[in-house]
Amino acid sequence: MTVFAVDGHLLWQVIWVSLLAGVAISALFSFVILGAVRAGDARRAGHGAAAAGYAAFAVVAFALFAAGVVLGVQTMVDK
């Protein structure tokens, strides 16, 4: 039986990439919902500029979220 050896560098990489990606994906989708909800509220209150700003915020957050999803699918395809 060979000696136990786990690549510590690889393990550390898994930990920090998972932490970053996991929290980021959840935060980005939360921002999408936040932007969409506030855009709706602002539109109903007659604040057109604020509604547009929140909508743009939601779109940017969704674009980043979608980029993460595409990166994930790319990872599956390339492995």
Binding site: A5, L11, G22, I33, M76, K79
Partner: protein, 366 residues
């Protein structure tokens, strides 16, 4: 002729394992979506089945590596693979019966390790491989997912804490459709490959295809079909455990658990450190529950799940080893695999017959 017959028994057993793999792991992709009512049960398993099927075609790098580095590949025979598969199937069915999510990959590795150990002795098994590919990932996956899941839900609550619950719930339910779909696709790319690899190995060992040949199309299609069918049938006992019995989850927790699960699995795959989907999702569910309130997690259920994880490798190895001993006793080149598979099919028919007589359907989600 005998060799071909044993080969087809191995192929059939590998597809049966693939079916139980899909059946057993349906919960990973759908449990949280069903629990939070993001999707109806039938729609959830339907989508998961289609994406598992599609996922099997995405990456065709043969995962013949399932036992590489764990057992001596030169010593592996079709009879060893057959006995290993029986060990893995037995563990998948036992854990399904008790509604416990456990890793099908670890069950397969355990089964092959047990049968190789009985067939060829301790020199056929690499201890370091078991630690690197089973023990360390089994320790890292749930703990990492628990921490990331907890952080993710705290961030989500912090961002959306003061918003009206209605649109927030609808938003996260929509997000769950996406995160659950990603998980199902990822499962198809990972797990159907294991069966393709095993069938391919058996074909090479039997001289039907060259080692450097492409995976035959029928192997890809049959493995994809078996895992998709298994997913569609659905292991409802495990779905109930993961969806309702660990924590009572809201859609934000469901999304966080699935989103974290998908990202941790993909991040780990990206850096070449594959983790068990079951361990990751279970850990993430517990993490999202504990972050809200430690007592929100039913730690007794969580303890049973962890006990099943600890037992997976030795239990599957024991069944795999025992099966190989019986096969070897009857003749590993012919009668052994035939007699064992016939006995198992008869036992399965009796079990299904009793279930039907008792008035229970085979696929009911209730």
């Amino acid at each position: 002729m005998d060799h071909d017959f044993v080969l087809w028994i191995v192929v059939g057993t590998a597809l049966a394992f693939d079916f139980t793999n899909g059946f057993h792991d349906t919960a990973n992709a759908v449990a949280t979506s069903i629990s939070t009512r993001a999707l109806s049960p039938r729609l959830a398993v339907g989508i998961a089945a289609i994406l598992n099927f599609a996922g099997a075609f995405i990456s065709l790098a043969v995962a013949a590596t399932i036992a590489t580095g764990i057992v001596d590949a030169d010593l592996i025979t079709p009879a060893i693979v057959f006995a290993g598969l029986v060990g893995a199937i037995a563990w998948n069915l036992a854990t399904w019966y008790f509604g416990l999510p456990s890793s099908s990959s670890h069950a397969l590795i355990g089964g092959v390790v047990g049968s190789a150990f009985v067939a060829e002795g301790p020199e056929a098994v690499y201890g370091s491989g078991i630690i690197d590919k089973v023990v360390v990932p089994a320790l890292v996956a749930p703990v990492l997912a628990f921490v990331v899941g907890g952080l993710a839900i705290l961030v989500a609550y912090r961002i959306l804490g003061r918003q009206r619950p209605g649109p927030v719930v609808r938003g996260f339910r929509l997000g769950q459709v996406l995160s659950g779909s990603l998980l199902a696709l990822s499962h198809g790319t990972n797990d159907a490959q294991k069966t393709m690899g095993i069938i391919f190995l058996a074909l090479v060992a039997n001289g039907n295809v060259a080692a450097d040949a492409d995976v035959p199309t029928w192997v890809v299609v049959s493995a994809a079909t078996a895992i998709a069918l298994g997913t569609y049938v659905g292991g409802w006992r495990i779905i109930r455990t993961m969806g309702n019995r660990i924590i009572k989850m809201d859609p934000a927790q469901g999304f966080a658990a699935q989103g974290v699960g998908a990202t941790v699995i993909m991040a780990a795959s990206q850096v070449g450190f594959p983790l068990s989907t079951t361990h990751v999702i279970s850990g993430a569910i517990m993490g999202t529950g504990a972050a809200k309130r430690v007592s929100a997690v039913r730690w007794g259920v969580a303890g049973n799940i962890v006990a099943a994880w600890v037992l997976t490798l030795p239990a599957a190895a024991a069944v795999g080893g025992l099966t190989y001993a019986v096969v070897a006793l009857l003749g590993s080149e012919g009668l052994g695999p035939i007699a064992v598979s016939a006995a198992l099919l008869a036992a399965l028919a009796v079990a299904l017959g009793r279930r039907l007589v008792a008035g229970r359907t085979l696929t009911a989600e209730g």
